[in-house]
Symmetry: D2
Amino acid sequence: MSRTLAELTVAVRDFADARDWQRFHNPKNLVLALVGEVGELAELVQWRTPDEATELTATLAGRKAAEDELADVAIYLLRLADELGVDLSAAIEAKLDRNERRFPRT
Amino acid sequence: MSRTLAELTVAVRDFADARDWQRFHNPKNLVLALVGEVGELAELVQWRTPDEATELTATLAGRKAAEDELADVAIYLLRLADELGVDLSAAIEAKLDRNERRFPRT
Amino acid sequence: MSRTLAELTVAVRDFADARDWQRFHNPKNLVLALVGEVGELAELVQWRTPDEATELTATLAGRKAAEDELADVAIYLLRLADELGVDLSAAIEAKLDRNERRFPRT
Amino acid sequence: MSRTLAELTVAVRDFADARDWQRFHNPKNLVLALVGEVGELAELVQWRTPDEATELTATLAGRKAAEDELADVAIYLLRLADELGVDLSAAIEAKLDRNERRFPRT
C-alpha cells in the first residue's frame, strides 16, 4: 500500500536518527548527497538510446537498479525537505495548482 | 493532509497528460529535467554557510524558494518513477528494509 | 588561440580574487555551484530529441546559450581544481593514460 | 606542462574515436555522463565539513580520488564542447570578459 509522504518522511527520519546520522544531515550535505544519487540515476540511462532507456525496467536487473536509485534519490529528497521544515506533499500540490494556471490545458 | 505517493503520482501524470506533455516525458528527458531542478536547489544553498543554509526557510522568500524547488524535483522524480513503472513508495520501503540490515543501529 | 589550462586557471582565480569571492570558493560550495551550472546545461537539451540536441548550436541563440553554459561549468571546474591544488591538465593526461590500458582500442 | 584546451580536446576525441565510442557521444548522452561524474565528485565532499573538504587532497587517497573525479568531469566537458562545435577556451575568455563588465572589482 502506498504510504503518505508524511509517513515516509518520518520513516526516513527515524532511520537516520537511530544511526546518529542527523548530525551529517544539514541542507548543504543533503543537496550534495541528492546530487550523488541523481548521478547514479543518470549512469543508468546515459549510453542507452531513448527506446532502450524506456525499456530499462523490462529486465530484472534493470528494474532492481532503477528501484534502487529512484529510492535513494527519494530518501535524500524527503530528508532534505524534512530538515528544511517543508511539507513536501503540500509543496507539490501548491506547485501543481500554480502550474494549472500558468499552463492551460490543450 | 499529506497524500500518498500513489495519489501524487496520478496527479502529476494527469497534469502532464492534460497538456500532451507525456510525449516529452521519456526516462532520459526526465532524468535531465530532474538534473535541471536539482541544479536550482543547489543554487539556493551554494554560497551560504552550513548555518545559513539551515536557516534558508526562516524568511518568507527563502521558504517559498525552497518549497518551489523541492516540489519541482519531486514532480520530475514522480514522473520518472511512473514512466519506468516503478512503485516509488514500495521502492523506498524496500530500500529502508535493506539498509536496516546493512547499517546496524548505534 | 586556445590557452593552456594553467593560464585559464590563473585567469579564473584572478577574476575571483579581484572581487574578494575566494572566501565563498571552498570545495563544497564550488561543487554545488558546478551542479547549478550543469543543471542549466541539462535544461538546454532536456526536451530536445537526440537529433535536435546535436543541432543545438546551429542557431545563433542556441550557440550563445551552449557557449555560455559550457563556460560556466568550465569556470567552476577550474576554480574547484585550483582550490583543491589539483593540476587539472596533468590529471586529465594521467586518466587518459590509465584508460588507455583499461580499454583496448577496437 | 599544462596543455591547451585545443590539444586536450583532440586527445580526448582521439581516445573516443579509437574505441568507436563516438556513436554514444551525442550531446544528451554526454550531459548525462557529465552528471554521473559530477555526482561522484559530490560524493567525495558530501559528509565532510567545509574544513574537511578543503583538506581532501591532504591525504594520498583523497588526492587520487579528487584528481580522478575532476579528470572525469573535464573529459566529458571537453567531449561535449567538441561535439557541439564550441571552442571552450574562447567561450571561457568571452565569459570572463562579459563578467568583467557585469561585476565590478571591489
